[in-house]
């Protein structure tokens, strides 16, 4: 098992294994996204109160869920980078941040578009929306902090620490609707209490959440492969790769 972890640290090995995973992960992502979108947008009944506008949840909820989970991926990669000084962890942290930032922005924008017809306003400073905005700034902050240093070993340490401090925000986002009075509704799906979404609407949502996880993994792996090539362009394995093609 440990040899597997040591191999993870080897750029040529990781590059080729990530390529092989992406070969089936990318088509799977597209298939899941297409199925989920068509099912959710065309073949589910409108909501009894919101009508058709509720369908934005098929993008909003998966984007938000994966943005939260992705933050832990980034923070754990940052921690590994701080403790073991693994180059691959640094690359993983850098690869995760822009994907997470984009997902958070998607959740914020779709939330605003949904909020206008439902609540009557684009934005409100309640606990859920504000903490989600902070998550966006944290992702942007990790990217900015990394880019701000010339010396990349200091850069990854600073970004890693910011990432770790930001983990405090994740349970706050998750519990914000229960701890405080907010405009955002409480969670419809909980780990313990089942779902307040009728099952015919729930299944496409679960499919879309799976699709977004798969999309996240594909994007991160693609990003990591690109930065590996950029970092190691002088190495013999990259030259061999170029000659092959």
């Amino acid at each position: 098992m440990w040899t597997f972890f040591h191999k993870l640290g080897s750029p040529p090995w990781f590059y080729s294994i990530a390529g092989r995973i992406l070969q089936w992960l990318l088509p799977l992502t597209l298939l899941l996204l297409a199925t989920g979108c068509i099912w959710g947008l065309l073949f589910t009944a409108p909501d009894f109160r919101q009508g058709n506008s509720y369908r934005i949840m098929y993008v909003h909820v998966p984007a938000a869920v994966v943005a939260l989970a992705g933050y832990y991926v980034m923070a754990i990669a940052g921690a590994i980078c701080l403790i073991w000084k693994m180059k691959m962890a640094e690359i993983a942290m850098r690869a995760t941040a822009p994907v997470g930032a984009f997902l958070t922005l998607t959740a914020l924008v779709t939330g605003a578009i949904w909020g206008k017809p439902t609540w009557g306003t684009w934005w409100v400073w309640d606990a859920r929306t504000t903490s989600m905005l902070i998550l966006f700034f944290l992702y942007i902050g990790v990217i900015a902090l990394y880019e701000a240093y010339e010396d990349k070993s200091i850069a990854s340490r600073a970004a890693g620490i910011l990432g770790l401090v930001g983990t405090v925000n994740i349970p706050i986002i998750y519990k914000s609707v229960d701890w405080w009075y907010s405009l955002h509704q409480p969670a419809s799906i909980t780990f313990t209490g089942g779902s307040a979404i009728e099952s015919s609407m729930l299944y496409p949502l679960l499919l879309m959440i799976t699709a977004f996880y798969s999309l996240f993994a594909s994007c991160v792996l693609c990003n990591m492969r690109v930065s590996l090539i950029k970092r190691e362009w002088r190495a013999s394995w990259v030259r061999a790769l170029v000659k092959e093609d």
Binding site: T44, W125, L164, I172, L183, E198
Partner: protein, 147 residues
């Protein structure tokens, strides 16, 4: 584990624990300000300031909604099932506004204990279902779950 790495692991855990503690204390100190609105029972208890812009929230009480005939002025009562509060509002209500539905209103409390709202937002609950299911549950116009 190598001692230097163990030390770094200690630092990482320290950073996470103490930043959580710091944020936790800040939120504990600000607990009143993080709430978006006051429920009617806190208004009745005198916690909400009078004459200052605040938000109140609750469920619109059944059969409390009155509309003025020749203006956009509306009057309704919101409740948190402990106490209730009369709200006056002149303007356009969101589509999802309705009796038995949650609302959050921005405005000021007047000295008569009424709330003069300048903005009314509908608070959606966590329940999603097709109209047929709602009909069979007799929920299509009102729901009593949450606010």
């Amino acid at each position: 584990m190598h001692p230097i790495r163990r030390q770094r692991l200690g630092v990482v855990l320290f950073v996470v624990l103490f930043s959580s503690l710091a944020v936790g204390l800040v939120m504990y100190a600000m607990r009143g300000n993080i709430n978006l609105f006051y429920p009617p029972s806190e208004v009745e208890a005198g916690i909400a300031p009078i004459g200052k812009p605040i938000r109140v929230g609750g469920m619109v009480e059944e059969e409390s909604f009155r509309r003025n005939i020749d203006s956009l002025l509306v009057r309704f009562v919101i409740t948190d099932f402990q106490s209730s509060l009369e709200v006056l509002y002149e303007g356009i209500l969101p589509d999802l506004f309705g009796e038995g539905q949650g609302v959050v209103a921005l405005g000021v409390l007047d000295s008569n204990g009424r709330f003069i709202a300048s903005e009314v937002l509908a608070k959606h609950d966590e329940n999603y279902m097709p109209p047929e299911v709602a009909d069979s549950l007799k929920l299509s116009d009102k729901t009593s779950i949450g606010y």
